[in-house]
Symmetry: C2
Subunit: 103 residues, 2 copies
């Protein structure tokens, strides 16, 4: 496995290594599962993803969202005042492939 591919994977894992970020991502993934299983993407307002993150400030959320996006795990898009988040299916597939034992 080439070194820059390892680094990219490590960056994705790093993005999921913080409990708050992982919750954010897992909430989005849960929200998106039905669509993802059918090969579609699923959009979700950021505010819907904040469950279980106990009083964490807006700057921190903003930072975490950026980390997930920079790692290639989610994509974001503005809709007026609000931010829409989606799981990046390619990023998810890359993670799953790295952990796959048969195939």
């Amino acid at each position: 496995m080439p070194a820059n591919q390892v680094d990219k994977l490590a960056r994705m894992f790093r993005a999921l290594s913080n409990p708050n970020r992982l919750k954010l991502f897992m909430n989005l993934l849960e929200e998106s599962k039905l669509d993802l299983a059918k090969g579609r993407t699923h959009d979700c307002f950021l505010v819907k993803l904040l469950g279980g993150l106990g009083d964490i400030g807006a700057p921190t959320v903003s930072h975490h969202v950026k980390e997930l996006a920079d790692a290639g795990l989610i994509t974001t898009e503005r809709d007026g005042k609000q931010l829409i988040c989606s799981v990046d299916p390619d990023g998810l597939a890359a993670l799953r492939a790295a952990l796959t034992v048969a195939g």
Copy 2:
């Protein structure tokens, strides 16, 4: 998803978030794939897993191995002077389950 389960997952992802640790784990996973696919475990001497880790010192390797073991991703066992590493199938399964979209 319960909070302590999220924390445990986050710890696994953290263990894979460092490129050197990820290489170590991927080398072991590659080495183990045939056996794991058949539901067996695979043992591997630590020294065999050091490929691609460019001049990193023994204390650092030792530290990284412990992080992977503490996270529940590998198990270790002594054989005389040497250390034997194996992928922990339960840890691997937990990671894969967290990233699974259908199922």
